[in-house]
Amino acid sequence: MARYGMVIDLKRCIGCNACTLACKQENGTPEGIHFARVVTREVGTYPATKRTFLPVLCNHCSDAPCAEACPTGATYIRPDGIVLVDKEKCIGCRACNVACPYMNRHYVAKGLLKHGYGTDGLSPYEAIKFMDFEEGTNIKCTLCAPRVDQGLEPACVVTCPTDARIFGDVEDPNGKLQGLIKDRKGWTLSPEYNTKPNVFYLDE
């Protein structure tokens, strides 16, 4: 069985946030909730300054602390490594929110699904997409599981204009991800938390 994950090449990322938008469009998340986002940092002192970009999403950790913390078993890890939430089981205790060191869990507050972006009501698109969510429960990046199940790649991957994101089986020794991770010394975020993330970064 494959273990799905992603490699993000920071040398290629231009911080355009196309992944953020593609994720928004694919998942139709409520206002203020972004499964994918690009953390931007300005470094240096004028005039020697620059911006660095770090695209982040759920790391679909092999030892996912959110799944461990969930008292109901609503958060679970599929055999292919994708970490998902069963909204019918979620009680909205937010234990997963404080368990995830990457802040990639999102709570759908009460009233959040009653309005769209900048409007009191919902657009036809939001009215359909919001049916996937339930107020008072937690949601997260699904690694576009419905797309993956159809043999497609996640929306953020196909949208990236610089091909900075590579999706695939991280455990396949002959796969492209393993090759990239080994050749370019791939690393994961906050390794000291021992969550075994399956999203790797390249900067060499």
Binding site: H34, V39, T40, L54, P71, C90, I91, G92, E134, W187
Partner: protein
Amino acid sequence: MRSSAGSEGEKVTTPSVGIANHRFAYGYYRQTFWNWLIGTAFFLGGLGAGLFVLGLLTDHTAGMLAGYLIVVVGKNTAHMLFLGRPERFWRAAMRPDRSWIARGIWAMGLFAASGLILLLPRVFGPAWQLSGWLNGAATAVAVLSAIIIMFYDGFVMNSSPGVAFWRTHLLPLLLLMYATLGGTTLSVTIHELRGEPTPGFLPNLEHWLLLVNFVLLAVYLARMNRSLPAARETLHQLLSGPYARVFFGLVLLVGLFATLLLLIVENHVQATWLVVLIAVCELTGDFTLVMVLLKSGLFPLQTAPAYGAGGI
């Protein structure tokens, strides 16, 4: 300011990392998921369970009843108000083998049942008294479950790796000792308000617990100073950031030092209002400690070995 190698190898000066004000910004993120309702639930759970145990120890029905109601009504109400889907609360009891939240729910359920068995004959008369061994079993279950309620919140926090400031086994111990202190203080106050003689060991216990809690708190903070960067930053925020006034003013000054001072005064000037004032001070410190522990917590920077401690 610090210097570090950038991604292209050039030297750049990096500003100190602050608190991020939105999720696309770089920095430490504040823990905002667990709010005052959870803080209230943790506080009431410890206080009520501590009061119940001390009531049982001193054979004090009013204390037991007050402690029972604080846990069963107060703590549970706060929890239910906090939950996003309270109608599914029972699902949280499904994984006691892995989750401290589930263990806590079991403890509260057992406490509610066994506490009721103990309280019924005391409140409504001996007709409600169960046979000897059943009563003994209920007493054992009530004490055990109450003690679990006093400290399990610490394990709930401690098993949340996202907030490094909570990642120490000192936290359950600290909350247990604060729960005992709160229970002792409230027990003394109830005795005083009802005009009953206070058992001699309670004021002495209160003195000692104030000192022990101060030492435990100091050890906890010292431990965090040697922990992960996010825990150190939280400590920095707690001691010199926006929560410093609340921490020093209410937790230390009011909750520990003023309480101790008033206890010493109360040894010489015995007055009901003084006992009530001691309780107000101590419980204010107790509640504020839980709240600052919750609210000051920070999530870690998105760091990687290649970029050093400064992050991306």
